[in-house]
Structure formats: structure tokens, C-alpha cells
């Protein structure tokens, strides 16, 4: 079933090179990363830590860029007729969906790794001593975010042959998780159901709900290996991560949340796409 998965993934990755996307993204990422590295290096003597602001900035960047370059991964192929050619070959729809996720993830991951490393090199050259554990966990957190948002965006793109639908859905995901509209939803439900009366959704349920976002999942999972996970990975996560986290902030729960966002939406989209007429 997955023999051609790698073929589609490689094609998608090299498409980003052939279409120069990777160069535009890479240039943007490197400029920002080197800028942060330069500022971090110069400020090192005052106790400035490089990794938290670098990772926080890149959480924003990778989310925007991954959603942008992935939201039409399938819908654009659908509209252009490329999908017809791919599916005229012995390539399954499974290969198309998951290969697209892998290809787009690889493209953004490559420029992310290069940028973060360059930033670190610049900072070190200027005298900073970044925390290696923070750097590794921060980078893994970023790559996890890339995979989740590539997966989500490809899911949107597989739901319709309209790039308008998929781009609107991608923007919705950005608003939910980066602008954190997600955390407003329970309050809106309470307002709608109860007005100013006693809330239907209690606070502890809202607390669990807020920890179901991809960013909260990444932060909470990172808590297993990094004491300062909240500082490094918490920019778009809900609340804070205590030293002894409750069940809904436990690293295992965080891993499950991450796996959910990385796997479930795209799989549901694949199942729908698999029965669609092209």
C-alpha cells in the first residue's frame, strides 16, 4: 500500500526546490535566525538566553509557513490535473496524502534545522553559550509543530478541490492555535448557553480543553525531558506547566495530544478523499 509513498514525498520535497519555495522560505528563516543569533550573542553577557526567543519566533514562523505551503498540497493538484496524472500511475491515494505530508514536512524541517543551527553558530561566535538541552528539545518541538501543521494543512487540502476552502481552513487553524481562539471557545459556549449565569462548562474542563492544542501538547510532552519546557516550548501553549503537572499536562497526555493532531485529522481526510470522485 505504501510502496510509492517515498516517491510522492520526494517529488513533493523537490517540487518546493523546483518552485523556489524553499529558497524564499530559507532566506526568510535564515535572516531572522541569524538576526536573533546576533542579538542573542551580543546580549549573552547580560544573561540573555538564546533558545527561548529563537524557538518562540520559529514556532510562529514554521506554523505560518507550513500552513501556507501545505494548504493546497492536494487541492492544487486536483484543480491543475496533476492528481489525475499521479492517480493514473500505480500510486494510491494513501501515497498521495501521506507522501504530501512527508514531503512538505521535510522541506520546512530542512530550512528550520539549518536556520536554528546558523543562529546558534552566530550566537556562539559572539560569545553566547546556549543551553544544549534547550536547543535540542526546542528544535524537536519545532519539527513536531511542522509535522502537525503539515498534516493538518494537507488534511484540509484533501477535503475539497477548492483552494479557497483549504486556505480558509488553514487560516482557521492558525487563528485557533496561534491567536489561541481555541481557548476562547469554552467561554463562548458558556456565554451562548448560560449568558451571565453559572457556566455549563466548568473551569477544570476548560483547563483540560486548553491543553488539547498542538502547542500545549508539544510543551507538555517536552516536560518529560526538559525542566524549562514551559520557557522554551510554551509560547502558544495554555497556561503554565507546573513542576508536578496534573494528568492533563502529563508528558504522556502531551504525546497523545501531539499524535492526535499529527495523525487523526489527516487520516479522516484521507478516508474521505479515498472515496471522492476525482
Amino acid at each position: 500500500m505504501t510502496e510509492r509513498l517515498g516517491l510522492v514525498a520526494r517529488k513533493d520535497f523537490y517540487d518546493s526546490i523546483r518552485e523556489n519555495q524553499i529558497y524564499y522560505i530559507g532566506t526568510l528563516f535564515v535572516l531572522i535566525a541569524v538576526g536573533i543569533g546576533y542579538l542573542g550573542g551580543n546580549a549573552a553577557v547580560e544573561g540573555f538566553e538564546l533558545v527561548p526567543p529563537l524557538v518562540a519566533t520559529f514556532f510562529f514562523l514554521v506554523t505560518v509557513v507550513t500552513l501556507t505551503i501545505s494548504h493546497d498540497a492536494i487541492s492544487d493538484k486536483w484543480v491543475s490535473g496533476e492528481l489525475t496524472v499521479l492517480l493514473g500511475l500505480p500510486i494510491s491515494r494513501f501515497d498521495v496524502v501521506y507522501g504530501s505530508v512527508l514531503g512538505r514536512t521535510a522541506a520546512v524541517s530542512l530550512v528550520t534545522v539549518v536556520s536554528v543551527l546558523l543562529s546558534t553558530v552566530v550566537a556562539v561566535a559572539l560569545g553566547a553559550s546556549p543551553d544544549l538541552a534547550q536547543l535540542v528539545v526546542g528544535l524537536l518541538g519545532l519539527l513536531t509543530a511542522v509535522a502537525i501543521f503539515a498534516s493538518l494543512a494537507v488534511a484540509f487540502s484533501a477535503l475539497s478541490d477548492s483552494t479557497t476552502v483549504s486556505s480558509t481552513a488553514a487560516f482557521g487553524a492558525f487563528a485557533l492555535f496561534v491567536f489561541q481562539l481555541w481557548s476562547l471557545l469554552p467561554s463562548l459556549v458558556n456565554l451562548a448557553l448560560d449568558g451571565v449565569g453559572a457556566p455549563t462548562i466548568p473551569d477544570d474542563t476548560i483547563e483540560v480543553w486548553n491543553n488539547l492544542t498542538p502547542f500545549s501538547g508539544i510543551r507538555n510532552a517536552g516536560g518529560a525531558v526538559l525542566e524549562s519546557a514551559d520557557q522554551v516550548l510554551g509560547v502558544f501553549a495554555a497556561g503554565s506547566l507546573p513542576a508536578s503537572p496534573p494528568a492533563h499536562q502529563h508528558p504522556v497526555f502531551g504525546v497523545l495530544v501531539v499524535l492526535f493532531w499529527a495523525v487523526v485529522p489527516v487520516t479522516l481526510a484521507y478516508l474521505r478523499f479515498d472515496s471522492d470522485d476525482i
Binding site: D15, R18, K77, E82, V85, P90, I91, S92
Partner: protein, 301 residues
């Protein structure tokens, strides 16, 4: 052996029935032309065979594999020139064929295939800059990768110049000689007539006829034509020719008779003319596929 076997295939889009209870068998090694006007359901039938579209009812096999469940296995041994195709991103023509070869896990002489379809000169150009005809040739090259057992070509000559159309016909014949089955759709009658062993005529989602061209001619009532140039047209000749068994229609034009008749009636017609006057020239033509097509799709048969 059967290459394609469809039974009761129906496709409905809401209230619109694109294909109605299609039963069709294509034998291995034959060239089968699927003929019909735009919107007749030709592409829908091909899309169902290839798994692009799921049939509402019915099913079948291609190369022995179930069209619903084993689409990838079918496409492993099938070369496809789809309708409404698009370039694979910004890849060059050469990369397109290499991609097809890798997908099929086949050894392919990429340049030889591009030469064969007449697009080798643009092998290293991005396909996004190809003309419609060049892209059509490239898609055919991709379809030929791996010497497929079955070629499914949806409107293969659309966008091709006359040389390209001729080359397409030659390739279809060569592929048949190699042992491949060719199933192609077209609304261009001459293309079908030139290469097809059998023809299926589809009209408004219904398969109205399947046969060889000769069989279709016969079934459609044989509308062969004769043009007989005479020195003069004696007044009684048109009526006497009309009375010959198998003659359908006689029209007098100056000193010429235009006759629509069955093939066996041609001899008696000439004989009658020779007895009545001096015959200067005789031209005969078989019923064209266009005539047959009109007979089936306009209720004439």
C-alpha cells in the same frame, strides 16, 4: 482472454445519470474505440475503470483485477493518457517519464520514449511551458513506460496536429502488434475509424452499439454511397434504379446519380446504368462511421 469486463456499471451524479447499466467486454489484444458525443459518458466509464470515480452500481474487472478494490494493481500494468491532465509541478519532460518509470518500477529508455512520441526536443524543458499538443505527447510517452498490457487513452488526439494524430495512430497499431490491448475514447470519428477493431457507441450514458465497423454498418442498415456520372440521364433511369433491391435513395444532379444503397446493390445499379446509357465514371464509398454514428445517436438505426 478478457482485458476489460464491465457489468451493469451505472454512475449517477445527483439526478443526472452519466452512465446507465454499462455492460462491456474488451478482449485482450484488440483496439477498442469508444465513441460518443461530448457528455456521452466516455470519460466517466474510463474514470470508473481507473478508479478515479466510483460506480454507483455495478462493477467489473480490468486485467483480471477488480476495478473497485484493486485499482493500483490495474494501473501497474496499464498505461494511462487521462483527460484533463496537468503537469507534475515544474518537472521537465524527462523527469516526468522517469517519475512514471519509478512509479511502475520499470526500466525505461526515457529518451527513446520521448523520441517515439515526438517530444524529445523538449525533454529538458519544464512541462509547465509545453503546448497542449506537446503535453499530450509527453503523457503518451508516460503511458508507454514499462510496455503496459493495457493502454487506456482518453481523447488521445485532442490538441494534436495532423502529424501528431498520425503518429498516435501508428503507436496504437504498434502497441497492438506488441500484444497490448488499447481502449481509447474519441469524438473524432476518423481517428476511431482508422485504428479500431471494434467500436462502442455511447449516447447519453447508454451503450447503443458495440461491433466491428462492418457489423455496425450492417446493423445500421448499410448506407453506402455511389456516384454515377452518365452521358445523359434517361427519364426512366432514376425510377428503375430506385426499384433495385437495397437501393434506399436516388438523387439526380445534372448528369449524375447520387445513390444511397446496400453494398450488394452496387453491381445491379451499375448494370442498370450501363444498359440505359453511357457510364463515364463510378465512385463508391462505404458508409462512414459518421453515418453510422448519426444513425445510432439520432435514432436512425
Amino acid at each position: 482472454m478478457t482485458a476489460i469486463d464491465l457489468a451493469g456499471v451505472t454512475k449517477r451524479y445527483g439526478d443526472v445519470t452519466a452512465l446507465q447499466n454499462l455492460d462491456l467486454t474488451v478482449q485482450s489484444g484488440e483496439v477498442f474505440g469508444f465513441l460518443g458525443p461530448n457528455g456521452a459518458g466516455k470519460s466517466t466509464a474510463i474514470d470508473i475503470i481507473l478508479g478515479y470515480v466510483q460506480a454507483t452500481d455495478g462493477g467489473g474487472t480490468a486485467l483480471g483485477h477488480d476495478i473497485r478494490e484493486e485499482s493500483v494493481a490495474i494501473r501497474q500494468r496499464t498505461g494511462v493518457l487521462p483527460d484533463g491532465f496537468g503537469a507534475l509541478g515544474e518537472m521537465t519532460g524527462r523527469k516526468h517519464v522517469e517519475f512514471a518509470a519509478e512509479a511502475k518500477d520499470a526500466d525505461a529508455d526515457v529518451m527513446a520514449l520521448l523520441e517515439r512520441t515526438g517530444v524529445a526536443h523538449a525533454a529538458d524543458r519544464s512541462v509547465s511551458g509545453y503546448s497542449k499538443g506537446m503535453a499530450q505527447r509527453l503523457m503518451l510517452a508516460m503511458a508507454l513506460v514499462g510496455e503496459p498490457d493495457l493502454l487506456i487513452l482518453d481523447e488521445p488526439t485532442t490538441g494534436l496536429d495532423p502529424n501528431g494524430a498520425r503518429r498516435m495512430r501508428e503507436i496504437v497499431s504498434d502497441e497492438q502488434d506488441r500484444g497490448a490491448t488499447v481502449f481509447f475514447s474519441s469524438h473524432i470519428l476518423e481517428q476511431v475509424q482508422a485504428v479500431a477493431d471494434r467500436v462502442g457507441i455511447l449516447d447519453q450514458g447508454n451503450l447503443v452499439a458495440v461491433d466491428t465497423l462492418d457489423g455496425l454498418r450492417e446493423a445500421a442498415g448499410s448506407t453506402d454511397r455511389m456516384t454515377v456520372d452518365l452521358e445523359t440521364v434517361p427519364g426512366t433511369l432514376p425510377d428503375s434504379v430506385s426499384g433495385i433491391d437495397g437501393v434506399r435513395d436516388v438523387t439526380v444532379r445534372d448528369s449524375t446519380l447520387d445513390i444511397s444503397c446496400a453494398d450488394p446493390a452496387k453491381g445491379p445499379v451499375v448494370h442498370q446504368c450501363v444498359e440505359a446509357t453511357t457510364v463515364q465514371d463510378v465512385e463508391t464509398s462505404q458508409a462512414s462511421l459518421e453515418d453510422i454514428f448519426a444513425a445510432y445517436t439520432e435514432g436512425g438505426a
